[in-house]
Protein backbone atom coordinates (compact mmCIF):
# COMPACT_ATOMS: atom_id res chain seq x y z
CA UNK A 1 0.00 0.00 0.00
CA UNK A 2 1.17 3.50 -0.85
CA UNK A 3 0.24 5.03 2.52
CA UNK A 4 1.99 8.27 1.67
CA UNK A 5 -0.32 8.71 -1.30
CA UNK A 6 -3.45 7.94 0.73
CA UNK A 7 -2.33 10.47 3.31
CA UNK A 8 -1.64 13.07 0.59
CA UNK A 9 -5.10 12.67 -0.95
CA UNK A 10 -6.78 12.66 2.46
CA UNK A 11 -5.03 15.80 3.68
CA UNK A 12 -5.59 17.61 0.38
CA UNK A 13 -9.31 16.88 0.56
CA UNK A 14 -9.54 17.84 4.22
CA UNK A 15 -7.79 21.12 3.40
CA UNK A 16 -10.70 21.96 1.09
CA UNK A 17 -13.09 21.30 3.99
CA UNK A 18 -11.18 23.49 6.41
CA UNK A 19 -10.89 26.27 3.83
CA UNK A 20 -14.65 26.55 3.88
CA UNK A 21 -15.12 25.49 7.49
CA UNK A 22 -17.62 28.21 8.39
CA UNK A 23 -20.01 27.41 5.58
CA UNK A 24 -19.45 23.68 6.06
CA UNK A 25 -20.68 23.94 9.65
CA UNK A 26 -23.12 26.83 9.74
CA UNK A 27 -25.54 25.35 7.24
CA UNK A 28 -26.07 21.96 8.93
CA UNK A 29 -26.27 23.55 12.39
CA UNK A 30 -28.77 26.12 11.17
CA UNK A 31 -30.97 23.63 9.36
CA UNK A 32 -30.93 21.24 12.31
CA UNK A 33 -31.91 24.03 14.66
CA UNK A 34 -34.78 24.89 12.35
CA UNK A 35 -35.97 21.28 12.38
CA UNK A 36 -35.94 21.32 16.17
CA UNK A 37 -37.81 24.59 16.35
CA UNK A 38 -40.45 23.52 13.82
CA UNK A 39 -40.84 19.80 14.48
CA UNK A 40 -39.66 19.68 18.06
CA UNK A 41 -41.21 22.77 19.65
CA UNK A 42 -44.01 23.95 17.36
CA UNK A 43 -45.50 20.71 16.00
CA UNK A 44 -43.81 18.26 18.33
CA UNK A 45 -45.58 19.65 21.40
CA UNK A 46 -48.88 18.47 19.92
CA UNK A 47 -47.58 15.01 19.08
CA UNK A 48 -47.70 12.41 21.81
CA UNK A 49 -44.61 10.45 22.75
CA UNK A 50 -43.51 7.76 20.34
CA UNK A 51 -42.45 4.52 21.98
CA UNK A 52 -41.91 6.40 25.23
CA UNK A 53 -39.67 9.06 23.67
CA UNK A 54 -40.61 12.71 23.22
CA UNK A 55 -41.05 13.63 19.57
CA UNK A 56 -38.22 16.16 19.66
CA UNK A 57 -35.79 13.48 20.83
CA UNK A 58 -37.28 10.85 18.55
CA UNK A 59 -36.27 12.73 15.41
CA UNK A 60 -32.64 13.24 16.49
CA UNK A 61 -31.27 9.99 15.00
CA UNK A 62 -33.16 10.60 11.75
CA UNK A 63 -31.90 14.18 11.52
CA UNK A 64 -28.32 13.07 12.04
CA UNK A 65 -28.74 10.37 9.41
CA UNK A 66 -30.28 12.84 6.98
CA UNK A 67 -27.31 15.20 7.27
CA UNK A 68 -24.65 12.53 7.42
CA UNK A 69 -25.97 10.75 4.33
CA UNK A 70 -26.34 13.99 2.36
CA UNK A 71 -22.91 15.25 3.41
CA UNK A 72 -21.13 11.95 2.79
CA UNK A 73 -22.58 11.74 -0.72
CA UNK A 74 -22.02 15.35 -1.67
CA UNK A 75 -18.48 15.52 -0.30
CA UNK A 76 -17.35 12.29 -1.92
CA UNK A 77 -19.06 12.95 -5.23
CA UNK A 78 -17.69 16.47 -5.44
CA UNK A 79 -14.26 15.31 -4.30
CA UNK A 80 -13.77 13.01 -7.28
CA UNK A 81 -15.94 14.93 -9.77
CA UNK A 82 -14.00 18.17 -9.32
CA UNK A 83 -10.64 16.74 -10.52
CA UNK A 84 -12.49 15.29 -13.49
CA UNK A 85 -14.11 18.65 -14.18
CA UNK A 86 -10.94 20.76 -13.92
CA UNK A 87 -8.70 18.11 -15.45
CA UNK A 88 -6.41 17.39 -12.49
CA UNK A 89 -7.52 13.74 -12.64
CA UNK A 90 -4.55 13.18 -14.97
CA UNK A 91 -2.31 13.28 -11.95
CA UNK A 92 -4.25 10.59 -10.09
CA UNK A 93 -4.27 8.34 -13.14
CA UNK A 94 -0.54 8.73 -13.75
CA UNK A 95 0.49 8.32 -10.10
CA UNK A 96 1.84 5.06 -8.68
CA UNK A 97 -1.39 4.37 -6.81
CA UNK A 98 -4.01 1.68 -7.22
CA UNK A 99 -7.75 2.17 -7.02
CA UNK A 100 -7.98 1.13 -3.38
CA UNK A 101 -5.60 3.88 -2.41
CA UNK A 102 -7.49 6.51 -4.40
CA UNK A 103 -10.79 5.37 -2.87
CA UNK A 104 -9.29 5.25 0.62
CA UNK A 105 -8.08 8.83 0.30
CA UNK A 106 -11.21 10.38 -1.17
CA UNK A 107 -13.81 8.30 0.62
CA UNK A 108 -11.88 8.51 3.90
CA UNK A 109 -11.88 12.30 3.71
CA UNK A 110 -15.55 12.52 2.71
CA UNK A 111 -16.54 10.13 5.51
CA UNK A 112 -14.53 12.15 8.03
CA UNK A 113 -16.29 15.35 6.98
CA UNK A 114 -19.69 13.67 7.27
CA UNK A 115 -18.76 12.28 10.68
CA UNK A 116 -17.69 15.71 11.79
CA UNK A 117 -21.04 17.16 10.81
CA UNK A 118 -22.92 14.26 12.40
CA UNK A 119 -21.19 14.97 15.69
CA UNK A 120 -21.89 18.70 15.43
CA UNK A 121 -25.58 17.96 14.90
CA UNK A 122 -25.65 15.63 17.86
CA UNK A 123 -24.11 18.36 19.99
CA UNK A 124 -26.64 20.88 18.63
CA UNK A 125 -29.44 18.45 19.54
CA UNK A 126 -28.36 18.42 23.17
CA UNK A 127 -29.18 22.13 23.33
CA UNK A 128 -32.79 21.58 22.27
CA UNK A 129 -33.91 18.21 23.62
CA UNK A 130 -33.00 15.55 26.17
CA UNK A 131 -31.22 12.84 24.24
CA UNK A 132 -30.08 9.65 25.86
CA UNK A 133 -27.81 7.17 24.14
CA UNK A 134 -28.61 3.64 25.22
CA UNK A 135 -25.90 1.89 23.24
CA UNK A 136 -23.04 4.35 22.63
CA UNK A 137 -20.74 1.84 20.93
CA UNK A 138 -23.44 0.72 18.50
CA UNK A 139 -24.29 4.38 17.88
CA UNK A 140 -20.68 5.13 16.92
CA UNK A 141 -20.45 2.00 14.78
CA UNK A 142 -23.65 2.86 12.88
CA UNK A 143 -22.52 6.42 12.38
CA UNK A 144 -19.12 5.34 11.04
CA UNK A 145 -20.58 2.71 8.72
CA UNK A 146 -23.13 5.16 7.37
CA UNK A 147 -20.48 7.80 6.71
CA UNK A 148 -18.33 5.24 4.95
CA UNK A 149 -20.97 3.51 2.86
CA UNK A 150 -22.62 6.68 1.60
CA UNK A 151 -19.25 8.25 0.87
CA UNK A 152 -18.62 5.18 -1.32
CA UNK A 153 -21.95 5.79 -3.05
CA UNK A 154 -21.00 9.44 -3.48
CA UNK A 155 -17.71 8.41 -5.04
CA UNK A 156 -19.60 6.32 -7.60
CA UNK A 157 -21.94 9.22 -8.35
CA UNK A 158 -18.96 11.54 -8.80
CA UNK A 159 -17.35 9.19 -11.30
CA UNK A 160 -20.63 8.70 -13.15
CA UNK A 161 -21.64 12.36 -13.31
CA UNK A 162 -20.93 14.13 -16.56
CA UNK A 163 -21.96 17.58 -15.35
CA UNK A 164 -22.96 19.44 -12.21
CA UNK A 165 -26.68 18.77 -12.76
CA UNK A 166 -26.12 15.04 -12.70
CA UNK A 167 -24.01 15.48 -9.60
CA UNK A 168 -27.06 16.92 -7.81
CA UNK A 169 -29.55 14.56 -9.40
CA UNK A 170 -29.10 11.40 -7.34
CA UNK A 171 -28.94 13.09 -3.94
CA UNK A 172 -31.96 15.21 -4.79
CA UNK A 173 -34.19 12.71 -6.56
CA UNK A 174 -33.24 9.49 -4.84
CA UNK A 175 -31.53 9.95 -1.52
CA UNK A 176 -33.58 12.76 0.03
CA UNK A 177 -36.93 11.00 -0.63
CA UNK A 178 -35.55 7.71 0.64
CA UNK A 179 -34.41 9.35 3.87
CA UNK A 180 -37.66 11.25 4.40
CA UNK A 181 -39.69 8.11 3.69
CA UNK A 182 -37.27 6.01 5.67
CA UNK A 183 -38.72 6.94 9.01
CA UNK A 184 -36.53 9.92 9.85
CA UNK A 185 -39.52 11.74 11.31
CA UNK A 186 -41.85 8.89 12.22
CA UNK A 187 -41.91 5.26 13.20
CA UNK A 188 -42.71 2.79 10.44
CA UNK A 189 -45.29 1.21 12.76
CA UNK A 190 -47.33 4.42 12.50
CA UNK A 191 -48.00 3.74 8.80
CA UNK A 192 -50.91 1.75 7.31
CA UNK A 193 -49.89 -1.93 6.67
CA UNK A 194 -49.46 -1.48 2.90
CA UNK A 195 -47.03 1.37 3.35
CA UNK A 196 -45.20 -0.54 6.05
CA UNK A 197 -44.57 -3.34 3.56
CA UNK A 198 -43.41 -0.89 0.90
CA UNK A 199 -41.13 0.81 3.42
CA UNK A 200 -39.25 -2.41 4.05
CA UNK A 201 -37.90 -2.14 0.50
CA UNK A 202 -36.33 1.19 1.41
CA UNK A 203 -32.74 0.49 2.54
CA UNK A 204 -32.60 3.68 4.58
CA UNK A 205 -35.33 2.32 6.88
CA UNK A 206 -32.84 -0.25 8.20
CA UNK A 207 -30.23 2.39 8.81
CA UNK A 208 -32.42 4.82 10.66
CA UNK A 209 -34.06 2.05 12.61
CA UNK A 210 -30.72 0.65 13.70
CA UNK A 211 -29.41 4.07 14.57
CA UNK A 212 -32.52 4.87 16.60
CA UNK A 213 -32.16 1.58 18.43
CA UNK A 214 -28.67 2.69 19.48
CA UNK A 215 -30.23 5.79 21.03
CA UNK A 216 -33.47 4.56 22.54
CA UNK A 217 -33.26 0.78 22.55
CA UNK A 218 -36.33 0.29 20.34
CA UNK A 219 -36.44 -0.29 16.59
CA UNK A 220 -38.73 -0.91 13.61
CA UNK A 221 -36.66 -3.81 12.37
CA UNK A 222 -34.33 -6.21 14.22
CA UNK A 223 -30.89 -4.72 14.81
CA UNK A 224 -29.13 -7.67 13.14
CA UNK A 225 -31.08 -6.99 9.97
CA UNK A 226 -30.03 -3.35 10.10
CA UNK A 227 -26.39 -4.34 10.39
CA UNK A 228 -26.67 -6.80 7.53
CA UNK A 229 -28.35 -4.19 5.36
CA UNK A 230 -25.62 -1.63 5.80
CA UNK A 231 -22.85 -4.23 5.43
CA UNK A 232 -24.46 -5.44 2.20
CA UNK A 233 -24.81 -1.89 0.92
CA UNK A 234 -21.12 -1.15 1.64
CA UNK A 235 -20.06 -4.35 -0.10
CA UNK A 236 -22.19 -3.52 -3.16
CA UNK A 237 -20.62 -0.06 -3.42
CA UNK A 238 -17.12 -1.53 -3.14
CA UNK A 239 -17.89 -4.03 -5.90
CA UNK A 240 -19.12 -1.29 -8.21
CA UNK A 241 -16.01 0.82 -7.49
CA UNK A 242 -13.78 -2.18 -8.12
CA UNK A 243 -15.47 -2.68 -11.47
CA UNK A 244 -15.13 1.03 -12.33
CA UNK A 245 -11.39 0.99 -11.82
CA UNK A 246 -10.92 -2.33 -13.54
CA UNK A 247 -12.67 -1.17 -16.67
CA UNK A 248 -11.69 2.50 -16.40
CA UNK A 249 -15.36 3.40 -16.86
CA UNK A 250 -15.72 7.16 -17.34
CA UNK A 251 -12.16 7.85 -16.20
CA UNK A 252 -9.62 6.06 -18.38
CA UNK A 253 -9.88 5.64 -22.13
Amino acid sequence: MNWTAIRAIYLFEMARFFRTLAQSLISPVLSTSLYFVVFGAAIGSRIQEIEGVSYGAFIVPGLIMLSVITQAISNASFGIYFPKFIGTIYELLSAPVNFLEIVAGYVGAAATKALFIGIIILITAFFFVDVTIAHPLAMVAFLLLTCLSFALLGFIIGIWAGNFEQLQLVPLLVVTPLVFLGGAFYSISMLPPVWQTISYFNPVVYLISGFRWAFFGSADVPIALSLMAIAGFTAACLLVIGWIFKTGWRIRQ
Binding site: N2, T4, A5, R7, A8, I9, L11, F12, A15, R16, R19, F82, I86, G87, T88, Y90, E91, L92, L93, S94, A95, P96, V97, G248, R252, Q253
Partner: protein, 312 residues
Protein backbone atom coordinates in the same frame (compact mmCIF):
# COMPACT_ATOMS: atom_id res chain seq x y z
CA UNK B 1 23.05 1.11 -21.16
CA UNK B 2 19.46 0.28 -20.32
CA UNK B 3 17.07 2.66 -22.06
CA UNK B 4 15.04 4.91 -19.78
CA UNK B 5 12.05 4.42 -22.05
CA UNK B 6 11.44 1.46 -24.31
CA UNK B 7 8.27 1.47 -26.38
CA UNK B 8 7.61 -1.55 -28.58
CA UNK B 9 4.93 -1.73 -31.26
CA UNK B 10 2.47 0.38 -29.30
CA UNK B 11 -1.03 0.54 -30.71
CA UNK B 12 -4.08 2.41 -29.53
CA UNK B 13 -7.54 2.25 -31.04
CA UNK B 14 -10.51 4.06 -29.59
CA UNK B 15 -14.03 2.68 -29.30
CA UNK B 16 -15.11 4.41 -32.50
CA UNK B 17 -12.41 2.57 -34.45
CA UNK B 18 -10.05 5.54 -34.70
CA UNK B 19 -6.44 4.37 -34.62
CA UNK B 20 -4.46 6.98 -32.73
CA UNK B 21 -1.22 4.96 -32.61
CA UNK B 22 -0.31 2.50 -35.34
CA UNK B 23 2.57 0.50 -33.94
CA UNK B 24 5.00 3.02 -32.47
CA UNK B 25 8.43 1.81 -31.33
CA UNK B 26 10.91 4.11 -29.63
CA UNK B 27 13.96 3.76 -27.39
CA UNK B 28 15.20 6.69 -25.38
CA UNK B 29 18.55 6.73 -23.60
CA UNK B 30 18.98 8.36 -20.20
CA UNK B 31 19.88 12.03 -20.23
CA UNK B 32 18.77 13.02 -23.69
CA UNK B 33 16.19 15.53 -24.81
CA UNK B 34 13.94 14.22 -27.52
CA UNK B 35 11.37 16.32 -29.31
CA UNK B 36 8.34 14.68 -30.87
CA UNK B 37 7.22 16.81 -33.70
CA UNK B 38 3.91 16.51 -35.44
CA UNK B 39 0.78 18.33 -36.50
CA UNK B 40 -2.30 18.46 -34.28
CA UNK B 41 -3.97 15.08 -33.96
CA UNK B 42 -0.82 13.19 -34.94
CA UNK B 43 -0.92 11.05 -31.79
CA UNK B 44 1.68 12.85 -29.69
CA UNK B 45 -0.51 13.28 -26.63
CA UNK B 46 -1.95 9.77 -26.96
CA UNK B 47 1.59 8.38 -26.94
CA UNK B 48 2.46 10.27 -23.76
CA UNK B 49 -0.85 9.46 -22.08
CA UNK B 50 -0.37 5.78 -22.75
CA UNK B 51 3.14 5.73 -21.31
CA UNK B 52 1.92 7.60 -18.22
CA UNK B 53 -1.08 5.33 -17.62
CA UNK B 54 -3.83 7.81 -18.43
CA UNK B 55 -4.98 5.78 -21.41
CA UNK B 56 -4.58 2.05 -21.83
CA UNK B 57 -2.84 0.65 -24.88
CA UNK B 58 -4.64 -1.72 -27.24
CA UNK B 59 -1.43 -3.70 -27.73
CA UNK B 60 2.32 -3.37 -27.44
CA UNK B 61 4.60 -2.89 -24.44
CA UNK B 62 6.20 0.02 -22.65
CA UNK B 63 9.00 -0.18 -20.09
CA UNK B 64 10.33 2.74 -18.06
CA UNK B 65 13.79 2.14 -16.63
CA UNK B 66 13.20 -1.57 -17.28
CA UNK B 67 9.86 -1.63 -15.42
CA UNK B 68 6.80 -2.66 -17.42
CA UNK B 69 4.12 0.04 -17.08
CA UNK B 70 1.36 -2.51 -16.43
CA UNK B 71 2.97 -5.31 -14.41
CA UNK B 72 5.28 -3.05 -12.46
CA UNK B 73 3.29 0.17 -12.62
CA UNK B 74 4.40 1.56 -9.28
CA UNK B 75 8.11 1.45 -10.09
CA UNK B 76 7.54 2.66 -13.64
CA UNK B 77 5.26 5.57 -12.73
CA UNK B 78 7.46 6.69 -9.83
CA UNK B 79 10.13 7.50 -12.40
CA UNK B 80 7.85 9.60 -14.60
CA UNK B 81 6.84 13.23 -14.33
CA UNK B 82 4.13 14.58 -16.62
CA UNK B 83 3.45 18.18 -17.56
CA UNK B 84 0.14 18.13 -19.42
CA UNK B 85 -0.79 20.33 -22.31
CA UNK B 86 -3.79 21.91 -20.63
CA UNK B 87 -3.37 24.00 -17.50
CA UNK B 88 -5.15 21.69 -15.08
CA UNK B 89 -4.85 23.01 -11.53
CA UNK B 90 -6.96 23.43 -8.40
CA UNK B 91 -7.81 27.14 -8.61
CA UNK B 92 -8.32 27.74 -4.89
CA UNK B 93 -5.35 25.79 -3.58
CA UNK B 94 -2.04 27.38 -2.68
CA UNK B 95 0.97 26.78 -4.88
CA UNK B 96 3.07 25.03 -2.28
CA UNK B 97 0.21 22.75 -1.19
CA UNK B 98 -0.44 21.46 -4.69
CA UNK B 99 3.26 20.68 -5.06
CA UNK B 100 3.33 18.93 -1.67
CA UNK B 101 0.26 16.97 -2.73
CA UNK B 102 1.92 15.78 -5.92
CA UNK B 103 5.00 14.65 -4.05
CA UNK B 104 2.90 12.69 -1.58
CA UNK B 105 0.72 11.21 -4.30
CA UNK B 106 3.82 9.75 -5.91
CA UNK B 107 4.74 8.13 -2.62
CA UNK B 108 7.62 10.36 -1.59
CA UNK B 109 7.84 11.35 2.06
CA UNK B 110 7.47 15.08 2.78
CA UNK B 111 10.68 17.02 2.18
CA UNK B 112 10.36 20.77 2.50
CA UNK B 113 13.95 21.35 1.35
CA UNK B 114 13.32 19.48 -1.90
CA UNK B 115 10.10 21.41 -2.51
CA UNK B 116 11.84 24.72 -1.82
CA UNK B 117 14.59 23.82 -4.29
CA UNK B 118 12.08 23.06 -7.04
CA UNK B 119 10.03 26.18 -6.40
CA UNK B 120 13.15 28.34 -6.41
CA UNK B 121 14.40 26.71 -9.59
CA UNK B 122 11.14 27.67 -11.28
CA UNK B 123 11.02 31.18 -9.75
CA UNK B 124 7.87 30.24 -7.85
CA UNK B 125 9.20 30.58 -4.32
CA UNK B 126 7.84 34.11 -3.86
CA UNK B 127 4.44 32.94 -5.04
CA UNK B 128 4.32 29.80 -2.90
CA UNK B 129 1.46 31.01 -0.70
CA UNK B 130 -0.60 32.45 -3.53
CA UNK B 131 -3.76 30.74 -4.67
CA UNK B 132 -3.33 29.26 -8.12
CA UNK B 133 -6.10 31.40 -9.60
CA UNK B 134 -4.10 34.53 -8.75
CA UNK B 135 -1.23 33.50 -11.01
CA UNK B 136 -0.60 34.43 -14.62
CA UNK B 137 -0.78 31.78 -17.35
CA UNK B 138 2.99 31.44 -17.48
CA UNK B 139 3.24 31.03 -13.72
CA UNK B 140 0.53 28.36 -13.80
CA UNK B 141 2.56 26.46 -16.34
CA UNK B 142 5.52 26.65 -14.00
CA UNK B 143 3.36 25.23 -11.23
CA UNK B 144 2.53 22.30 -13.50
CA UNK B 145 6.24 21.71 -14.01
CA UNK B 146 6.90 22.02 -10.28
CA UNK B 147 4.23 19.41 -9.61
CA UNK B 148 5.72 17.09 -12.20
CA UNK B 149 9.18 17.50 -10.67
CA UNK B 150 8.03 17.23 -7.05
CA UNK B 151 8.82 13.53 -6.79
CA UNK B 152 12.19 13.84 -8.53
CA UNK B 153 11.36 11.89 -11.70
CA UNK B 154 14.04 10.53 -14.03
CA UNK B 155 11.89 10.91 -17.12
CA UNK B 156 9.91 14.07 -17.75
CA UNK B 157 7.20 14.45 -20.36
CA UNK B 158 6.43 17.98 -21.47
CA UNK B 159 3.32 17.96 -23.62
CA UNK B 160 3.40 21.13 -25.72
CA UNK B 161 5.03 23.16 -22.93
CA UNK B 162 5.05 26.37 -24.90
CA UNK B 163 1.72 26.21 -26.73
CA UNK B 164 0.15 29.64 -26.45
CA UNK B 165 3.08 31.01 -24.49
CA UNK B 166 4.75 34.31 -25.36
CA UNK B 167 8.27 34.44 -26.77
CA UNK B 168 9.95 35.48 -23.55
CA UNK B 169 8.37 32.73 -21.51
CA UNK B 170 9.25 30.25 -24.21
CA UNK B 171 12.90 31.17 -23.83
CA UNK B 172 12.54 30.77 -20.05
CA UNK B 173 11.03 27.36 -20.59
CA UNK B 174 13.95 26.32 -22.77
CA UNK B 175 16.35 27.42 -20.04
CA UNK B 176 14.43 25.36 -17.51
CA UNK B 177 14.69 22.34 -19.80
CA UNK B 178 18.43 22.87 -20.18
CA UNK B 179 18.75 23.05 -16.39
CA UNK B 180 16.84 19.80 -15.95
CA UNK B 181 19.01 18.11 -18.51
CA UNK B 182 22.06 19.22 -16.56
CA UNK B 183 20.51 17.47 -13.53
CA UNK B 184 20.38 14.28 -15.56
CA UNK B 185 16.64 14.22 -16.23
CA UNK B 186 15.60 12.67 -19.53
CA UNK B 187 13.09 14.86 -21.32
CA UNK B 188 10.52 14.00 -23.94
CA UNK B 189 8.71 17.01 -25.26
CA UNK B 190 6.05 17.31 -27.88
CA UNK B 191 5.68 20.39 -29.92
CA UNK B 192 4.48 21.64 -33.21
CA UNK B 193 6.93 24.52 -33.08
CA UNK B 194 9.84 23.43 -35.19
CA UNK B 195 12.09 26.10 -33.75
CA UNK B 196 11.57 24.61 -30.33
CA UNK B 197 12.82 21.21 -31.39
CA UNK B 198 15.65 22.86 -33.25
CA UNK B 199 16.63 24.94 -30.24
CA UNK B 200 16.70 22.36 -27.46
CA UNK B 201 16.42 18.77 -28.65
CA UNK B 202 19.22 16.24 -29.08
CA UNK B 203 17.03 13.98 -31.18
CA UNK B 204 13.90 14.65 -33.15
CA UNK B 205 11.06 12.26 -33.86
CA UNK B 206 8.40 13.07 -36.40
CA UNK B 207 4.89 11.73 -35.82
CA UNK B 208 2.04 11.95 -38.28
CA UNK B 209 -1.25 10.05 -38.26
CA UNK B 210 -0.24 7.74 -35.44
CA UNK B 211 3.05 6.67 -36.96
CA UNK B 212 6.57 7.58 -35.98
CA UNK B 213 8.00 8.49 -39.37
CA UNK B 214 11.56 8.85 -38.17
CA UNK B 215 13.68 9.46 -35.11
CA UNK B 216 17.07 10.89 -35.70
CA UNK B 217 19.84 12.90 -34.18
CA UNK B 218 18.87 16.48 -34.83
CA UNK B 219 22.19 17.42 -36.43
CA UNK B 220 22.22 14.27 -38.59
CA UNK B 221 18.67 14.85 -39.64
CA UNK B 222 19.37 18.36 -40.71
CA UNK B 223 22.55 17.36 -42.48
CA UNK B 224 21.02 14.35 -44.20
CA UNK B 225 17.81 15.94 -45.22
CA UNK B 226 19.35 19.36 -45.40
CA UNK B 227 19.35 20.89 -48.80
CA UNK B 228 21.27 24.06 -49.27
CA UNK B 229 20.40 26.79 -51.71
CA UNK B 230 22.82 29.04 -53.46
CA UNK B 231 21.38 32.35 -54.63
CA UNK B 232 23.35 34.02 -57.38
CA UNK B 233 22.29 37.65 -57.56
CA UNK B 234 22.88 39.35 -60.90
CA UNK B 235 23.60 42.94 -61.83
CA UNK B 236 21.27 42.87 -64.80
CA UNK B 237 17.96 40.97 -64.92
CA UNK B 238 17.54 37.97 -67.24
CA UNK B 239 14.52 36.94 -69.32
CA UNK B 240 15.32 33.23 -69.21
CA UNK B 241 17.97 30.92 -67.80
CA UNK B 242 20.78 30.93 -70.40
CA UNK B 243 21.13 27.80 -72.54
CA UNK B 244 24.65 27.20 -71.23
CA UNK B 245 23.30 26.85 -67.65
CA UNK B 246 20.31 24.65 -68.46
CA UNK B 247 21.93 21.48 -66.98
CA UNK B 248 22.02 22.97 -63.46
CA UNK B 249 18.24 23.02 -63.05
CA UNK B 250 18.24 26.62 -61.89
CA UNK B 251 15.21 28.69 -61.00
CA UNK B 252 15.01 32.29 -61.92
CA UNK B 253 13.33 34.57 -59.40
CA UNK B 254 13.31 38.12 -58.06
CA UNK B 255 12.27 39.49 -61.50
CA UNK B 256 15.15 37.75 -63.19
CA UNK B 257 17.79 39.14 -60.86
CA UNK B 258 18.47 35.93 -58.88
CA UNK B 259 19.40 32.43 -59.99
CA UNK B 260 18.78 29.79 -57.33
CA UNK B 261 20.71 26.53 -57.28
CA UNK B 262 19.85 23.66 -54.91
CA UNK B 263 22.52 21.22 -53.81
CA UNK B 264 23.24 18.62 -51.19
CA UNK B 265 25.94 19.54 -48.69
CA UNK B 266 26.85 15.89 -48.21
CA UNK B 267 27.35 15.12 -51.89
CA UNK B 268 30.83 14.35 -53.20
CA UNK B 269 30.68 17.31 -55.55
CA UNK B 270 28.31 20.14 -54.90
CA UNK B 271 28.87 21.55 -58.39
CA UNK B 272 29.30 25.06 -57.07
CA UNK B 273 32.73 25.65 -58.63
CA UNK B 274 31.59 24.57 -62.08
CA UNK B 275 28.37 26.52 -61.82
CA UNK B 276 30.11 29.76 -60.91
CA UNK B 277 32.64 29.25 -63.70
CA UNK B 278 29.84 28.63 -66.23
CA UNK B 279 27.93 31.67 -64.95
CA UNK B 280 31.00 33.78 -65.50
CA UNK B 281 31.62 32.25 -68.96
CA UNK B 282 28.04 33.01 -69.94
CA UNK B 283 28.95 36.63 -69.48
CA UNK B 284 26.75 37.29 -66.44
CA UNK B 285 27.94 39.82 -63.88
CA UNK B 286 27.52 38.83 -60.21
CA UNK B 287 26.33 41.27 -57.61
CA UNK B 288 26.27 38.87 -54.61
CA UNK B 289 26.24 35.18 -53.68
CA UNK B 290 24.19 33.88 -50.73
CA UNK B 291 23.71 30.35 -49.36
CA UNK B 292 20.73 29.22 -47.30
CA UNK B 293 20.26 26.05 -45.23
CA UNK B 294 16.80 24.47 -45.04
CA UNK B 295 15.35 24.51 -41.54
CA UNK B 296 13.79 21.61 -39.65
CA UNK B 297 10.49 23.09 -40.69
CA UNK B 298 11.19 22.55 -44.39
CA UNK B 299 12.26 19.00 -43.61
CA UNK B 300 9.19 18.39 -41.54
CA UNK B 301 6.79 19.77 -44.11
CA UNK B 302 8.55 17.65 -46.75
CA UNK B 303 8.17 14.48 -44.68
CA UNK B 304 4.54 14.97 -43.85
CA UNK B 305 3.80 15.73 -47.50
CA UNK B 306 5.56 12.61 -48.68
CA UNK B 307 3.50 10.63 -46.23
CA UNK B 308 0.28 12.17 -47.48
CA UNK B 309 1.20 11.53 -51.09
CA UNK B 310 2.06 7.92 -50.32
CA UNK B 311 -1.31 7.51 -48.65
CA UNK B 312 -3.29 8.94 -51.54
Amino acid sequence: MQPILDIADLRKSYGDGFEALKGVSLRIEPGEIIALLGPNGAGKTTLISTVCGITTATSGTVAVGGHDIIRDFRAARSMIGLVPQEINLEPFERVINTVRFSRGLFGKSPDEAAIEKILRQLSLWDKRNNQIRELSGGMKRRVLIAKALSHEPRLLFLDEPTAGVDVELRKDMWEIVEGLKADGVTIVLTTHYIEEAEAIADRVGVIAKGELLLVEDKADLMARMGQKQLDVQLSAPLEDVPEALAKYDLTLCDDGRTLTYSYDTRAERTGITKLLRDVSEAGLVLRDVVTRQSSLEDIFVGLVHEEEEAAS
